[in-house]
Symmetry: C2
Subunit: 188 residues, 2 copies
């Protein structure tokens, strides 16, 4: 039997992304966002949603650019901190000691210590309600060169990204691989 | 050091959603999508992207509705199959034996056997490129009443959702909880 839970975003899993921008004075800022994901393969695009009340919001509108940074589980404290505090009040890079690197492609910094960084040019802004959705075209994806690759991509087991469980607000790690996509379904 | 990987959606993790619709003849159909996520808390909205070439695409435009269904790892074969085959050619519900339940709220079916089902009314369609993004407002979220709840939400440990790793195309399970969000960041 099904139980109605009301109009809520009970979606599992959600990611943990850190969105970086420069503010009006050119200071780097970072905020955590779990509302987002890939939205197009060609051109390669990602979508992230955030509230107008955030300091990052006006930076996104002004710079038309951001980076999407995937924290590894080693940086769980920093990733959570970026979502706890406003860049209006604190210099989050100075507080955490993480390193902002100026992108050559877009007017935004990325986080050197995080294993995956996407440099994105904003191509669409949609006011939905409490959240505004920003779609960024990925101009380049950068990874740590210490990550082992298989074919032409890094291994999720080495990236060690975080998962956010809405409502319970728990951070989880990625568990073991149990099957190969576009393959196991042939057994049905 | 960073290594440039080119303009690609190297995003970790991505979810595994099964999107259900009715076609022109009222037949239920299901397809798998990993490009998507939550995009607004109020109104509660989810975004999913799919290619125009899919059978689901025209159903979404015609019905202005879909359900987003979260498969548990027990249904990994069915979830993968829904992404392998077109509803133009096969009745995927008949093939898998899964049960389509007509939503009372939107003109779309949901999957009885999956633990979480969101009934969504489409409020925005954006042609991006290869993929089109559909934003659905969640009118109701339903869960299996066998799921234990904590407070007013189900536990991700019981839902057992899947994670998709882009590029390697592996399905992973959700691993253990390692911290509480909006808390551990206070330790930085």
């Amino acid at each position: 039997m099904k139980k109605s839970m009301g109009a809520r975003t009970l979606v599992y899993p959600t990611p943990v992304f850190v969105i970086c921008t420069y503010d009006d004075e050119g200071n780097p800022n970072a905020m955590t966002a779990a509302w987002g994901g890939i939205c197009c393969s060609s051109p390669p695009c990602v979508a992230v949603s955030l509230r107008k009340a955030t300091y990052t919001y006006s930076s996104l509108l002004a710079k038309k650019a951001f980076t999407l940074n995937v924290p590894s589980e080693n940086y769980i404290k920093e990733a959570d901190y970026f979502g706890l505090v406003s860049g209006k009040k604190e210099n989050k890079f100075a507080h955490t000691g993480l390193t902002p690197v100026k992108s050559d492609l877009v007017d935004a910094p990325y986080i050197k210590e995080f294993p995956v960084n996407l440099e994105c040019k904003i191509i669409n802004v949609l006011e939905i309600g409490l959240h505004t959705q920003f779609i960024g075209e990925v101009l380049d994806a950068k990874i740590d060169d210490t990550l082992q690759e298989k074919g032409d991509h890094p291994l999720i087991e080495q990236i060690k990204p975080l998962i956010f469980a809405p409502e319970s607000r728990g951070y989880h790690v990625v568990g073991k691989q149990i099957a190969q996509a576009f393959a196991i379904g042939n057994d049905t």
